[in-house]
Amino acid sequence: MKSVIKHSLFNKLTTLSFALIFLINIGVSAQNGDPVKGKELFNANCAACHKLDAKLIGPALANVADRRSNKWLKAWIKDNNALRATGDADAKAIFEEFNGMPMMTFPQLSEKDIDDLIAYTSVKPQEAVASTTAAAVDPRVAEGKQLFQANCAACHKLEAKLIGPALAHVADRRSKEWLHAWIKDNNALRATGDADAKAIFEQFNGMPMMAFPQLSTDDIDKIIAYTSYDEPKAVVAPLNAEASNIAKPKTSTTWMSVIIGLVLLSFIVWIYLKSNNGFLKIVATIFLLFGVAYAGFAALFEVGIDTDYQPIQPIQFSHKIHAGDNKIDCQYCHSSAKHSKTSGIPSLNVCMNCHKSIAEYNGPVTSDKDKAFYDGEIQKIYDAIGWDKANLVYKANYEQVPVKWVLVHNLADFAYFNHSQHVTVAGITCQTCHGPVQEMEEVKQFTKLTMGWCITCHKTTEVKLEGNGYYNAIHDQLSKKYGIQKVTEAQMGGLECGKCHY
């Protein structure tokens, strides 16, 4: 549900009518496996010994269904020993191939689960493609890269000016000997009266470069090799392939439900119009009334609940790239979460801490969001704050404009929620309420944010009494008076109205 409007009336009415059809549909399951579910199951059960695209302890499982029948796989996974005991040739062959190491049995997995697993393995893994390209590179270049990142990257980039000039193909501009002398001790070089050395010094406003006497000539050559090497542009297949694959079976289930619902509905209509059986009519009426009531209530209870709300943001900020790929801590940007009731949308100067030196995106891209797209999004920060990325300075007298983000989690004004209480005191991870944000390309509301949702958690969550001086006295009293060692948030008064409504 990605829209500018939060939840349209139309959506509600569709929910209302579809809810009825879903109700009729209970028990009817789709035959196709669900790859999303399958992925979860794979990670939980199989990933310890299997990978999709490579042999681990067990064989690679990508497209295993192409090699084995569905029935065989179900039998194997549930109890491979039993299957082998039946004398199945394939089963025996595998056993021998892996030096007589038997696979664990998984009797707990249902047939549906295994269908899901197979659906997941049938999706073509994409990451493999990207990883293969980087392999065949001169080892000196790789070493040079390491040296460059350890010594030079603080001030230089390959393609763009940072504190010092861009260094890509610097060997084309300067001689090797000159570079050796310059890098080892540029001050000494300048002292000899070298014209180039002086020119650079002046170009950068008399800011001298550090000297690197510790680098050997060979090291420098390696670095030069790295700067001269053009990394091939990684051709990465769209990541979204997986996502679009996932979407399909879901829609088909929806349509199946619709069709079955319509069939049932027409059956009821038929009963009314054609049947003479009074009892059947009464049953149909009761069924219809309860169905409508159930669906109606279900729909009304959904009013104001915006789970999966995913508004279009002014900057398409990807939490996946920041928190997922680059593993930036949530609270680096949302720094007030530990101090304040609000988690804080980071101000642009926080973005600039990194984006001063990261002006372009070099990570994996998808078909609809290429490098140019992400670079354009980064440019939006610069436009807002007035950063001149060519000269690496803030533009003078620039009229800065704040970014008008769209609020995703909109808690009602009459409910008081304090992030620091949950983050600092209770030590709850952000993902508990916000979901796997590190996997979200665009953030959406993960939980319902209803009072029932709050209360369920308060009823089940134990207060961390240990190690917090505030609770010492309370803990003593509780254990002395009631012999209680553990209390839930609710028992501590966390269900009282006024704790959140004032």
Partner: protein, 1016 residues
């Protein structure tokens, strides 16, 4: 026995045949819902074009439409800073130390700032007594967001820019300097040393410059007297905490007398620790706040105050100065004996605005060798000079003034001869008014230099020679304004900001090597400066003779005064102050004359309550010399001296403000020769005035023994049961204390904090700082005069004012007049000079709350922390809770008070809304609200402690009212913490619960009032 006294809040209650009071005793709302008018007439109903079917259709349609319309959720933007200031964390408040010193309020304060917006004023505890806040100091934060403030400088009423104003000013001032024409800076008192220095430098740079200080509420006579006696223009300091006996003749020292800020010191001596409580005697005409707190109050006419002062001087010193007899003479003889007995621990003060009277009082204190009368650290707060102002007006009229720069004063409004002044203004060649609003003076000025509010300004204060304070900006200037001092610096060509000037001056002359940053952080700095006094010999006899000759008596004498809410009218556009009920008259949105019942009868004036409980009154014309004030409302005030009339200044502002706030009449015209005592003639005129008076409201179901008091004598010498008896009930055929009888199971409140609020009626002066603090902290709406009239005030905290006399049921039985009209008449007679008691009442947070049991939707519920919660979003507005509350503390939102043009106060404009506390919900129409015991503050204290992993410190638990209380009468804290201040006083002998016999087990408790009335 004192505790059996009859209390009343309105004279109406004393009339035996008053059906209205009886009705109010039984019902909270006087008017029934008029169902009869539209349901009673059958034929109307049947003839209606809307049939029952249609009605149901409409209901169905509107319900569906409303539900469907609600389906669309709002899309909200969340906009972060571009560059976040380092010290701001959104959602966390910062506190900055600053000072308020505008001539009408002097205090060192802390300013609570949220996301760069000041939202609350708190007292600065480091400043001692100067840190105490008052109603006006508390309310000043709203004046920052006054929608009628000037947005920028004006030239001839049109917008201009600073550079053209500067150019014009510099040219003109230099021309004037070349011609040696006189330039005058007319400013109100600011007590700012740096400001004085900048003006002095300005004077130096332009030659013929005079600085005239003008205060609308002037203390000029006291300053003159002090100057004559000690050679310095200052005010004596009084250490009331050391006093055993305080005799005040017309000095409302708990109000605005000599700049105020004495209540904290006074209260320290009023805590009735056994045998150690000061005695306070007041001789006055109006029933002032100080008079209401006095142990003995003697009402006399204004002229008699003067005679009483001379008589008292004679009686104490044995002199024999000529005087006249007064009704208080017998008492004065006794007082003189007590004074002599108390000796150096006694003090005599007077509010008579006459230099000779002030000399007499000072001389009397010297004769007593009073230690309360403190000459070591005189006060430098008020500096207005009436003579200089008079001369200035004369000079202006004679065309001798080249330029006039007016700052922090509004003489066109507040001068007694404002019309003369306004005419004279036209003869001034260059006139600049430095003002925050386009007020009366600004409208008549050529140029108006818009000034920032003090919360946007740099500045400093010197309240006493060694007591310095700093003022710092807590918000970026909202508008295109510039500080007065900065304008002067610009015009004299000094190329520096006022901040630089301030810092330079502090470094060179005040700090003495101490850290500027530390001083700025603390907001106060104790220097080692001294004010050298030279003692001049004075001839008291001459003074006494002069005083007598200057005194005129009349049939009616006027005593002008200032209210604790409105002061001199600077903050008249502040709705919180307009709505604040006067502590004595309990009337808001008005000024009026106060007159005694006897005089009112004589003149045929009356007050009466109309059917909905609102108060109406007659009107009179007042005439002082040639000046007539027409149609002044009349309020009959018990305790008003016969032959005297009180009238509040500060009302009747008419420019630079919202129409809703233009209330009352301007009485400054009657303040002739700056003297608040005037002989006056009163003439009744036709017409009825409608008051917004809350005194009959929130009745307590006839349980009028809600307040308790005793005398110091009984308190010391008799067992508790005689003066503070807890009601008893029969349980199992045994009389037990009502506290022990319980229908309900006890709530387990022993784990975690359990909050109690204690209110000491002995030290509560009724100053109302708590009411305004509650307004600010809890987003309490202002409802306006019309709504107050119909009992719909929204104050979560009210201060009930009770009058009492000596007539009791017992006494009446003894005299055989019990239940007769005579008894009620006898009760009415002492109402000429009743004793007064104040009692702040807010939600009592009952452990067995009657409101909770009747709520059909469980919107109000109890918490283990002792607070009675109110979930607004759950409330459906049945008002059962309000009906079942024995204390009548619940308030119903009859309207949506925010964003509503019908209630065009601060919650109806974007600027005014900036003062709202973002941690507290703004309530909507149709829900009940009440005091939460500042739940948001207690929760925050707990959370802070949890985050830091430590127990909460006692002083961290505060409510808005307890924190604002200047006298420390309100103590708030956790009773489960046995070491907390509040836990220690729960067992005090004076402690009692309101209506303990009801068995509500409140978490608010009181300490009964003790009057020091033992025989001398």
């Amino acid at each position: 026995m004192a505790s059996n006294k009859k209390y009343w809040r309105s004279v109406e209650e004393l009339k035996s045949d008053n059906s209205l009071v009886e009705h109010l005793g039984q019902k909270e709302f006087l008017e029934e819902i008029p169902t009869e008018t539209f349901l009673g007439a059958k034929e109307n109903l049947s003839n209606s074009s809307t049939s029952r079917r249609d009605f149901l259709k409409y209901v169905g349609f509107t319900t569906v439409a409303a539900s469907l319309a609600a389906c669309e959720g709002p899309v909200l933007k969340t906009i972060p800073y571009v560059v976040k200031p380092e010290n701001i964390i959104p959602g966390v408040a910062n506190f900055y130390a600053s000072s308020m010193s505008d001539g009408d309020g002097f205090a060192n304060i802390l300013v609570k700032v949220r996301e760069g917006r000041p939202i609350k004023i708190e007292p600065n505890k480091m400043a001692g007594n100067w840190g105490a806040s008052s109603a006006r100091v508390q309310a000043s934060v709203l004046s920052l967001y006054d929608n009628n403030r000037l947005r920028g400088p004006l030239a001839d009423g049109k917008e201009t820019d600073w550079s053209s104003l500067d150019k014009k000013a510099i040219d003109t001032l230099n021309t004037l300097k070349a011609n040696n024409e006189k330039i005058v800076v007319l400013s109100g008192s600011t007590a700012s040393p740096t400001s004085k220095k900048v003006i002095a430098e300005f004077a130096q740079s332009f030659g013929n410059v005079q600085h005239v200080v003008y205060d609308a509420l002037s203390e000029s006579p006291a300053l003159d007297a002090f100057e004559t006696m000690y050679g310095q223009r200052a005010l004596p300091n009084y250490k009331f905490e050391n006093a055993k006996l305080i005799v005040s003749i017309g000095a409302d020292f708990l109000g605005d007398w000599q700049g105020g800020q004495y209540s904290a010191a006074y209260a320290k001596g009023r805590i009735p620790v056994k045998g150690n409580m000061s005695k306070h005697l007041q001789i006055e005409s109006n029933l002032s706040l100080s008079g209401a707190n006095a142990d003995l109050r003697i009402p006399v006419k204004p002229s008699e105050q003067i005679f009483a002062l001379i008589n008292l001087y004679n009686a104490v010193t044995g002199s024999n100065f000529a005087s006249k007899p007064t009704p208080a003479d017998a008492a004065i003889k006794k007082i003189a004996i007590q004074l002599k007995k108390a000796g150096s621990q006694a003090v005599v003060i007077t509010g008579i605005q006459n230099k000779e009277a002030q000399i007499l009082a000072n001389a009397l204190n010297e004769a007593l060798q009073s230690e309360v009368y403190d000459l070591t650290a005189p006060r430098l707060i008020k500096a207005g000079n009436d003579v200089a102002v008079k001369n200035l007006v004369d000079e202006m009229a004679a065309g001798k003034i080249g330029a006039l720069l007016i700052y922090n004063a509004n003489p066109s409004y507040s001068l007694p001869n404002a019309s003369v002044f306004n005419e004279a203004l036209k003869k001034v060649k260059f006139l600049v008014c430095f003002s925050m609003s386009d007020d009366e003076t600004a409208q008549k000025s050529q140029f108006v230099a818009a000034t920032p509010h003090y919360l946007e300004s740099w500045g400093d204060t010197q309240f006493q020679a060694a007591k310095f304070g700093l003022m710092q900006p807590t918000i970026n200037p909202l508008f295109n304004t510039r500080q007065f001092e900065e304008s002067l610096l610009t015009w004299m060509g000094q190329n520096k900001t006022y901040y630089q000037a301030l810092r330079d001056y502090w470094t060179t002359s005040i700090l003495n090597g101490s850290s500027w940053n530390q001083a700025l952080h603390d907001g106060v700095f104790n220097g080692n400066n001294e004010l050298k006094l030279t003692k001049n010999s004075i001839d008291v006899a001459t003074s006494a003779a002069a005083l007598l000759s200057q005194t005129k008596s009349g049939d009616f004498e006027l005593n002008l005064y200032a209210k604790i809410s409105m002061g001199d009218g600077k903050q008249a556009n502040n709705p919180w102050l307009q709505e604040l009920p006067d502590p004595i008259t309990r009337t808001s949105w008005d000024n009026y004359i106060t007159i005694s019942a006897a005089d009112a009868k004589k003149l045929g004036l009356e007050n009466f309550n109309v059917s909905n409980g609102a108060l109406n009154g007659s009107k009179v014309n007042l005439k002082v010399k040639e000046v007539v004030l027409n149609e002044v409302p009349v309020y009959i005030q018990p305790g008003q001296a016969n032959g005297s009339i009180g009238l509040a200044l500060g009302y009747g502002r008419s420019a630079g403000m919202q129409t809703e706030m233009m209330t009352g009449l301007n009485a400054f015209a009657l303040l002739q020769d700056f003297n608040p005592f005037q002989t006056v003639s009163v003439e009744k005129v036709a017409g009825i005035h409608e008051f917004a008076c809350v005194q009959l409201q929130h009745t307590i179901m006839g349980r009028d023994e809600i307040i308790k008091e005793t005398t110091l004598d009984d308190f010391i010498n008799k067992p508790k049961n005689e003066w503070n008896k807890t009601p008893e009930f029969s349980l199992n055929h045994e009389e037990v204390s009502a506290e022990r009888v319980d229908l309900w199971e006890k709530f387990d409140d022993t784990v975690g904090p359990h909050f109690n609020l204690s209110i000491d009626l002995a030290t509560c002066t009724g100053c109302a700082a708590c009411i305004v603090a509650c307004h600010a902290e809890n987003n309490v709406p202002v409802v306006g005069k019309r709504e107050i009239r119909v009992s719909r005030d929204m104050h979560w905290l009210r201060i009930d004012r009770y009058y009492t006399s000596d007539m009791t049921n017992e006494k009446a039985k003894e005299e055989g007049i019990f239940g007769t009209g005579e008894m009620f008449n006898t009760m009415t007679i002492p109402s000429e000079n009743p004793q007064v008691a104040f009692q702040p009442v807010m939600c009592q947070h009952c452990n067995h709350a009657p409101c909770e049991t009747v709520c059909p939707v469980a919107a109000t519920s109890h918490s283990r922390q002792g607070q009675n919660h109110m979930a607004y979003n759950r409330c459906i507005g049945t008002r059962y809770c309000a009906n079942n509350c024995p204390y009548k503390v619940r308030r119903f939102n009859w309207f949506k008070y925010a964003n509503n043009n019908e209630f065009d106060f601060n919650m109806n404009n974007d600027l005014g809304k900036m003062v709202l506390n973002p941690d507290v919900v703004v309530r909507s129409r149709g829900v009940m609200e009440k005091c939460t015991m500042c739940l948001q503050k207690t929760q925050l204290s707990i959370l802070t402690a949890k985050k830091e992993g430590r127990p909460v410190k006692d002083e961290e638990f505060q409510t808005a009212c307890s924190s604002a209380c200047p006298t420390g009468a309100m103590v708030f804290g956790d009773v489960n913490d046995k070491q907390s201040e509040v836990a220690l006083i729960t067992e005090d002998e004076r402690a009692f619960h309101l209506l303990a016999e009801v068995g509500t087990k409140p978490n608010v408790f009181y300490h009964l009032k003790v009057r020091n009335t033992e025989a001398s």
